[in-house]
Symmetry: C2
Subunit: 632 residues, 2 copies
């Protein structure tokens, strides 16, 4: 597969874009004309630079508003085209993209467009180039790839073929199966772009919201299957523009682009009949459980205090590093003070269990995810580690499930309560990591989603928006079908809310865990009384049950599948814990409670500094003497 | 007019929202239920707080998914509603907003919905409250305000009326004239929101893109005219949520909201028959010219050098301040070194000429725009000054036009070339400020647009998007009909490009200005050769003309109305100058050239630090010896 990428996908100058594409592993690029026009490099210099980088110049694009015009305009369009052909000759590019006319077309006629494209083909031939005609989704008359192909067929000139762009085809809901009806030699170019499902006008949708393959909602596997079965063997190129990539370093974007294209080819080869020739990468299935969550800080004592209150047990100190392990059942939390000077507690890593860890490592590595070096001593376990796009380190371990297995690395921890003891923890019934709530800046959000799905094998779950005091927080759950691994991923708002992530622990009796934790001095995140009045209004709960929830600041949700009880600890630096209990087949996360939680956290944040005294009721207590809630 | 605002419009806690609304001058608020639920204040405390602030609690909202349901669901909905009525009694709120059902409705029947609303009205009466039924634009069956009114009419209960929301009516394209057919006593509430013209699904459009009146594209003047003529005299409330306000300080948002509502009432009173009773503010028409542009810096010497090269003359030093004046014809640039320690050159202010400057000052002041204090001595002119939302200071002066008048304040500048001299400037033909290109962070963009239009009297011109190396830059021109004042306003991109603004000077012969400026040592912003190759391809210009443009780095545009020639100076700190010449009726700004300009600026920015040597051709010259272009 000859991989290519349009320079419009990347930020920076033309030479920076070409360097980035080559570095990421692309075989070629499409030259976006405005990038050339704004460049200081002459066409000859661009050509020489590409040769030095080993990069093919696959396409010159776009040439606009050519066909379907009056005879007078056609003459001017041919003149415009010839000037471009001369520039292409200097660049050494053999194919030009001609988009269907969006503004100056006056003739809604296949015959007229075909005749005019034939004229263009004759001119192109004379300059040794080929014309790839593409239907734009918002073309004035030609907005369907099947019509573009009919016109190309009618034009009947060897230098005139068609270009297929997944965005223009799938955004209109056109069936891509017709691609297989086009002779391969008449498909001159193929461009891929994904996009989220939006009902927006196609022009804005295209201009601002295209995504790389697998990051959006288009079925590009089926699309690419049709392309391969048509016999087309030319460049498979990415043409993706959105408001994010243009603001992101070109190197990172190019690496992400290449990874998504390789992952798409892999999936297509596996799932589409006749597409077996596409290159593949090792398969790893999906993770079967969470091995551990790592919290890092210069000093993790405050986190230990919370874990102790929640009923987890200290399992030992690592034999060679300042790293400590706490656990209850299959919920394992690693506290890492190594190389963490000045860092407040935060989620730094996550271990995932794969049945075939070698395959998983090979897959992640082949897809170009950067590795983390973990120093180990003789006799210590080697856990392959990588960095996710949003910065959390990912460790891969062999295992069948989190709750039953006893990871080999556990023996590296010494002087703690033996793994099979911890009766109290057993009582409390904390038994697993239910989910790990991560945040991503908006710039890396879609890339992180692809990392979790296309690389790690998780699936996309529900997507929601949660109201915080400072904006709507976009959230999407990435998970395994059975829920053994669940990662709700939130967009970090541009301003206001803090970068806070949290670990949710599953237990059998959340009220019992809360009761015992409070006996041990834990102060849960306070929940306003109005919340419980509202719970009553929404669900009509019994007074006894409501009182019990309120006494322990436990929140409640219910849907058609079951019920959900949960409470939050206060924040320790940039991390906090949630204890959850699922009843019936409840499969959500209490999304309605998230705004209450965010407001309560904001109140606690505002407390110490008394930011706007006049806007708040008078407070007499400072930071060290926290407000007491009447409930306990 | 009883002004109100929904708490969902503002950020922060409920008490912060209420404080901000009262401070901004609103008479009341709508309590958004989730704001109450997340609040620590009990309903009784909220009520007491509102009383202390002198704020009416006008509406409790929203109650969802009530009508059109099965009998069984109705019972549960009545139970849910009664719980809310009890909370409303504690708050002392008399009206609840009931939205048309978007999810659980199964009965598409006016009669069923009316009968169920009557049941609700009976229950509401018993609790002393009223029900305002509103058609949501995405209601399952009821999505038209006229149908909501039919149902209210059928329900025929004194406690059941309707709520009108401009967004739900205008986003569906429904004619608001029917509002006048509704008896005033059955309109229980009116909500206003503006929005940009987007073809997006109405739910996303509503949730993310509502704007305050006058900031978007809805005709709210006509809408409010219908409301007033219906006889309605209750609260006029703003219900506006978008991604920006939620992230902005509540005080600033509330002030902006109040200003837009007052400006809307003013315009409606003036333009709509029968709406004369609405409150007005002084009228000022629109500005007739640019008095001056002020550039501020600790040291403005580099700017003086550029102005000298461009043919402007030094007109004197201010008699009491470190401020200097340069001009040519009606183009006046004030260079201000007062209180500018550490500041690099930037556009700090702008003077606008109004025929009735007292009226203009009264208008700006009445609309609550913050003033700037200018210290003056005896005998010096008093120029009223205000701060625009994006930070530029605005000075108001009396005058008929920029080019012919001789402002009174000019006599405060001494020891310069007399105003009527400056032959060379006359030769060069620089005669006016053509436009002032300002930037705004995205958070204040819509507010700045409203400031320029609703407050200053400019009009909205075309809106475009310009590709920079680091993102699409949204741009909209604000101007007078005759073009005497033109302010293209760009969104400051989130990352990458610098905050740079520029002053465009109009001249009669841009090639002559460029030629003379280069003789005096000016180095214009370099334009790549490829740009001129592309010009040839696009416009088929003659070789002689192209060579002449290229020799002076002058750029070119043409449209159906005329031609445009212009060149840019290099950046001096955060400001640069553009020289423009308009031929025929060309009314644009050479938008196609902006990406070339941005790329050239980015190259110059990258030069001194040699950021990525490997990605660029080797350069042997450092910062102090700039690269020479072969053209000059």
């Amino acid at each position: 597969m000859h991989t290519s990428i349009a320079t419009v996908c990347l930020s920076g100058s033309l030479e920076e874009k070409m360097e980035a594409a080559a570095e990421a592993g692309f075989a070629g690029v499409e030259i976006f004309e405005p990038d050339l026009v704004a460049s200081e490099l002459t066409p000859e210099e661009v050509r020489a630079r590409a040769e030095r980088l080993g990069l093919a110049l696959d396409l010159y694009q776009p040439f606009r508003d050519f066909e379907g015009v009056s005879e007078e305009l056609l003459e001017d369009n041919l003149r415009r085209a010839e000037a471009r052909f001369r520039i292409m000759a200097r660049l050494g590019i053999g194919t030009v993209l001609v988009c269907s006319n969006v503004s100056t077309a006056t003739e809604d006629s296949d015959e007229v467009s075909a005749a005019q494209l034939r004229r263009l083909g004759e001119l192109a031939s004379a300059h040794g180039v080929r014309v790839a005609f593409e239907a734009l989704a918002w073309g004035r008359f030609v907005d369907d790839y099947r019509r573009a192909w009919r016109i190309v067929e009618l034009a009947d000139h060897p230098a005139v073929g068609t270009c297929l762009d997944s965005f223009h085809i799938l955004s209109r809901g056109h069936d891509p199966a017709g691609i297989e009806d086009i002779p391969a030699e008449k498909i001159f170019f193929v461009q891929l772009a994904d996009a989220p499902a939006l009902s927006l006008d196609v022009l804005s949708w295209s201009r601002h919201h295209r995504l790389f393959p697998g990051e959006g909602d288009f079925d590009l596997v089926t699309f690419l299957g049709h392309v391969v079965r048509s016999g087309y063997a030319g460049p498979i190129s990415l043409e993706v523009f959105n408001d994010i990539f243009r603001q992101t370093a070109s190197g990172a974007t190019a690496a992400q682009a290449h990874r998504t294209l390789v992952a798409l080819a892999d999936r297509t080869a596996r799932e589409q009949a006749g597409a077996e020739a596409l290159p593949t990468v090792p398969a790893a299935g999906h993770p079967v459980g969470v091995d551990f969550v790592e919290v890092r800080a210069e000093n993790t004592t405050d986190v230990e205090e919370v874990l102790d209150q929640l009923g987890l047990s200290f399992r030992g100190q690592h034999r060679s590093k300042p790293v400590r392990l706490w656990s209850a059942g299959g919920a394992r939390i690693i506290l890492n003070e190594q190389h963490a000077r000045g860092e407040r507690p935060h989620v730094a890593g996550m271990g995932l269990l794969y049945p075939d860890v070698d395959a998983a490592e090979a897959r992640v590595s082949t897809l170009g995810v950067p590795r983390v070096t973990r120093r180990i001593q003789a006799g210590e376990h080697r856990l392959p580690a990588f960095v996710s796009p949003q910065g959390v380190e990912l460790f891969l371990a062999a295992g069948e499930s989190d709750a039953t297995g006893r990871p080999g690395w556990i023996d590296e921890f010494e002087h703690g309560v033996p793994q099979d003891e911890g009766a109290e923890a057993g009582e409390a019934g904390v038994y697993a990591v239910d989910h790990l709530n991560l945040m991503s800046p908006w710039e890396t959000y879609d890339e992180t989603v692809h990392f979790c799905t296309g690389v790690l094998g998780l699936q996309k779950g529900t997507s929601t928006e949660v109201a915080s005091l400072h904006g709507l927080v976009r959230s999407r759950v990435l998970r395994t079908p059975d829920g053994a691994v669940r990662v709700p991923l939130n967009v970090l708002p541009a301003a206001g809310d803090q970068h806070t992530e949290h670990v949710a622990l599953a237990c059998d009796d959340v009220l019992a865990v809360a009761r015992r934790a409070q006996r041990r001095g834990m102060r849960p995140l306070p929940v306003p009384r109005n919340y419980y009045d509202d719970l009553e209004a929404r669900f009509g709960l019994t007074d006894t049950f409501l009182r019990s929830l309120r006494a322990h600041q436990v929140m409640y949700d219910r849907d058609a599948d079951g019920e959900f009880l949960h409470f939050y600890t206060r924040r320790v630096g940039g991390v906090f814990f949630e204890l959850v209990q699922r009843l019936g087949d409840y499969d959500g996360y209490g999304a309605a409670d998230a705004p209450i939680r965010l407001a309560a956290q904001a109140r606690l944040d505002a407390e110490p500094s008394q930011l706007s005294g006049s806007a708040r009721p008078p407070r007499r207590r400072g930071r060290s003497v926290p407000r007491q809630l009447p409930e306990w």
